[in-house]
Amino acid sequence: MTKVDILIVGAGPAGMSAAIEARRHGASVLLLDENAAPGGQVHRAAKPDAVGPGAAQSREGAALMAALRASGAGLHSGAVLWAIEPGPRAFVLQDHAVHEVDAGRVILASGATERALPIPGWTLPGVMGVGAAQILLKSAGLRPRGRVWIAGQGPLIWLYAAQALARGGEIAGIVDMSRITPHALLRLPRALTAPGYLLRGLAWMRAVRQRVPVFRTRDVVVEGDGRLERIHVGGQIHTADTLLLHDGVVPNTQVTRAIQGCEHRWNAAQRAWEPVLDDWGNTLIPGILVAGDGGGIGGAAAASLSGRIAALEAVRALGHLGGAQRDALAAPLMRRRRAELAPRGFLDALFVPLPMPVDEVTLCRCEEVTAGSVRAAAGLGCLGTNQLKAFTRAGMGLCQGRICGPLLHATLAEARGVPGGDVDPLRTRFPTKPLSLGELATLAPSASAASASGKG
C-alpha cells in the first residue's frame, strides 16, 4: 500500500503540469502513465531542440518533462490504473503486480483518443489512424513511404502530413472530407481573437498542398484481399498500401464512466460525452478531479492550464494552500485557459463529425457488428448503447467500446431522430484494462509476502 497526497493518472500536458504545480506547494505526488515514457500523445518524444512543423509544441513538452524531473514528483511509467474505489483508493498494474494507492486526491488526466472514421473496408490491415501514424513518426521515427493515403478531416491531418514530409516521408494523396458551413463561419470572429492556431494550421496546409494532391470528396472506399490494396476516391481507383483516417478526437472517459455516481454530460458542440466538472476540475465524486482533454477537448495548452488549476484545488483541499491563495494563483490561469479555448467553437463547428456509413460497414470492430445491425436494433425499439449490447453484442468485445462507442451512439441517435444527449453512453466497468488472474492474485497480502520470501 502506497500513501500519497495526490495521485495523477496520465503524464501528458495536463498530468505533468498538475504534478509540477502540486509539488510547488509541498504536496507529495505520484504520477502514473501507461506508456514507457512521459509526454502523452502530444508531447511523445518531445525534444528541446525540435525544428519544423509542431516544433514549438515539442519544445514546450521537453520543458515540461525537465520541470517534472526537477519537481520531485514520483513518476511510474508502464503503470496502468485499472480501478478506483471510494477513498479514493486506486489499483495499479505495473510489472505484472497490482499496487494499491491511497490518495488524498486523484487527478485523472487521461487525454483523448481518435474518433474512429468508419468507411467501407476500414477494418483491413493497412488502414490506421492519422494519430497512430504520428505516434510511429514521433516515437519510432517511422515515416510514410510508398502508396500512403490520408482521408478525413481536422487539423491533425495537416500537422502530420507537414511533419512527415519535413522528415522525408511520402504521401500519395489526401482526401479532405471537411465542408465549410455558415454555422462554422459565424464562429470565425471569436476564433480570430487567438489567431495563432489558425495561422499555424494554414501554414501546414500550404506546405502540404505544394507537394501532395488534395481531393475533396466524402466518397472513399477501401478494397483488398486480406489487406488494403486499393482505395476508391470519388469513383477513381488508386493503388494504396496504407490509408490513414482521422475525424478529430474525443475525451477518453473510460475510467470516469466506470465510477458510480460520476455523472457525464453530452457536449453537443463536440458531439461527445464528458464528465460533469466545476471550473476547478472536481467531478461529482469527492476526491476525484479531471484535467485536460479527458474532461472535454481543448488542446494541449488548455490541458496544461487545467492541470495546474486542478492541482491548486487539490492542494487547497488537502490544506497546503488557503482558499484565497488558490483563487489568486488560479485567476490568471483561468484567464489564459479562456483565451486558449477561443478558437474551439469554430473548430468544433467546422469539423462536425462525419455522417455514419451505409448499412454494410462494420462499426464495432471487435464483435464485427455493422451499421445496418445497429439500425435494425433501433427499429426494434433499442433506445441506447447499453441496450444495444443485448441486441447485437456491439461494444462488448476486446476494446470495451473504446473505438465503437461514439459510432454506436451517433448511429442510434440518428436512427431514432433524437439529440445525442437522449442516447446513453456505454457504461464501462473495472478493470479498465485487462489483467490476468495471476496479476490480480498479487493483491492478496499473503500472496505478496509469499512471493517476496519465495523469490528471495
Binding site: G126, M128, A132, R143, R145, G168, T242
Partner: protein
Amino acid sequence: MFERVEPPDCTITWQDREIPARAGESLAAALLAAGINRVRVTGMSGAPRGPFCMMGVCFDCLVTVEGEGARQACMVPVVAGMRASP
C-alpha cells in the same frame, strides 16, 4: 508502408522470421517497419487485423510475446532478441 529514419540496432523474432528493430520502440512499430501489417485474425469471422490506433485503445494488435498471449503490440517495448507471434 513505413520506413525508418534511423537504422535498426537489434533483431527480434516474429513467428520464425528474424526482423530488424530498435530497442525501446513498440513491437507494433517494429512489425510495421518490417512491412508486417497483419498480426492476427478475429475470433468472430477470422478476418485479418493489424495495428490500428498505436496507443493501447483498439486491441487489434494483440499478439503473443515470450509465450504470454493477448499482449498489445503497440504497448510492448522491444527488447533485443524478443520472440513474438500471432
